[in-house]
Symmetry: C2
Subunit: 255 residues, 2 copies
């Protein structure tokens, strides 16, 4: 099982959209996908029709029980090949509850080890804040996707995110590869082209060479609760995520 996480402390950059879109293509290709919703706001769970206010059990329970309990927490979605560990609003209290307790950063990783052979891919959606949930995602993932809006202010925030990652990496034993993905690229504005140019100059090794275009079909797809590849595979947005997936699966050697 490959484990990828989608993370950025900046809100609204396309973290959840990236997880849903890649999961859509993987499931159409016959791959078995496990999604993990680490965001107390539960956008990923809501996308698949689960209500974070009433969801029982949820990711929250993973932190109260042994790793093998994950089998009872995984739920089906309407897509045969996509299962989910849903979020609940109670997840927001985990940061405060766990505080500085040791070893709470490995809860997700230990749980995923127990279901490694049931799935081909595991995609983790992170909340827009650095805390115990993001630490769990970084410990569990082998590859990190960092969506970034193609605009100047977002690039400044990216520098901070990359520095934070490098700090966390120092305490890990095995390396974590990461790929920065330029999202919501509006080809009509000069500012988007200029900021993309800046990204390419600043992050030549980790920036994916393609872009995810601004595409209103993402909203229409989310309204239907469908990943965009299932909603409208020929759309520019869906095609861009297919290109990203091909890049990621070619680049990352199978274990």
């Amino acid at each position: 099982m490959r484990v990828w996480a989608s993370a950025n402390q900046k809100g609204g950059v396309g973290k959840t959209t990236t997880v849903v879109s890649l999961a859509g293509w993987l499931s159409l290709q016959g791959k078995r996908v496990l999604l993990v919703d680490l965001d107390p706001h539960g956008s990923l769970s809501a996308y698949f029709g689960f209500d974070p206010d009433t969801q029982q059990p949820s990711l929250y329970h993973l932190f109260q029980q042994p790793p093998t309990a994950v089998a009872k927490i995984i739920v089906d979605t309407r897509f045969e090949n996509i299962k989910l560990i849903p979020a609940s609003t109670a997840v927001a209290t985990l940061d405060r509850q766990l505080g500085n307790q040791e070893g709470k950063g490995l809860v997700l990783r230990n749980a995923l080890v127990t279901c490694f052979d049931r799935f081909d891919y595991c995609l983790i959606d992170c909340p827009p804040i650095l805390g115990v949930l993001m630490v769990n995602a970084l410990a569990a993932a082998e590859h990190l996707l960092v969506p970034v809006q193609s605009e100047f202010l977002a690039i400044k925030g990216l520098e901070r995110m990359v520095r934070t990652l490098q700090m966390i990496m120092k305490s890990r034993k095995q390396a974590l590869a990461y790929t920065v993905v330029a999202t919501m690229f509006d080809r009509r504005t000069r500012a988007a082209h200029e900021s993309l140019q800046l990204l390419r100059e600043q992050y030549p090794e980790i920036l994916w060479q393609g872009v995810i275009p601004l595409d209103t079909q993402f909203r229409d797809a989310s309204r239907q609760g469908l990943p965009i590849p299932c909603f409208l595979p020929a759309s520019r947005g869906a095609q861009a995520y297919l290109a990203l997936l091909q890049h990621l699966t070619a680049e990352v050697q199978p274990q």
Copy 2:
């Protein structure tokens, strides 16, 4: 001093943009404005040229010192009428450090009381997560602005936000008024009109009757580090925030 907070657990909906744009108009009208950045990611601080990684002192220090220390934490911006309590990345650790300690929800409110007569308005920018920082904002504010993207998935998240607010309100003594603001409204798409209609049906009393349009000038303004009213006052985005400000100042009786 009027105290308004801009909050929504959903990321990327225009919380920071709302604070900056209203502050721009207020400062052009000669009002003295204090901004508070409660987001560890520091988008508001970065907008005005402060680096959350190196900022000393910052909001973080407010939680370690008596309320009167706020005078030493407030910084000048390049705008005469706008001062700021900047964020720093250390703020992200507050949730874990404070944990369930009593009384930590009133730190900001007690600090603002000590500078009530220095400013006409105080605008608070919240992080996209419910934690001790958002609780501080709700305790300090008299009026809450809840920016919502005009799309279906965001409306579902709003129901949760409104329910959370009602839960927190029960434990407050004085009422908190709130206004939902539809942002990033793309008048070219049917989905935006339909979701606005839905918002108007579901929240007739608390939804502002105008909308903030999708306007690429916001990105250009942020690139210059200028609030949009100072960057391009005739733009559709700036004019919409002026209409919102007129609504808020007419509706909320001066104390």
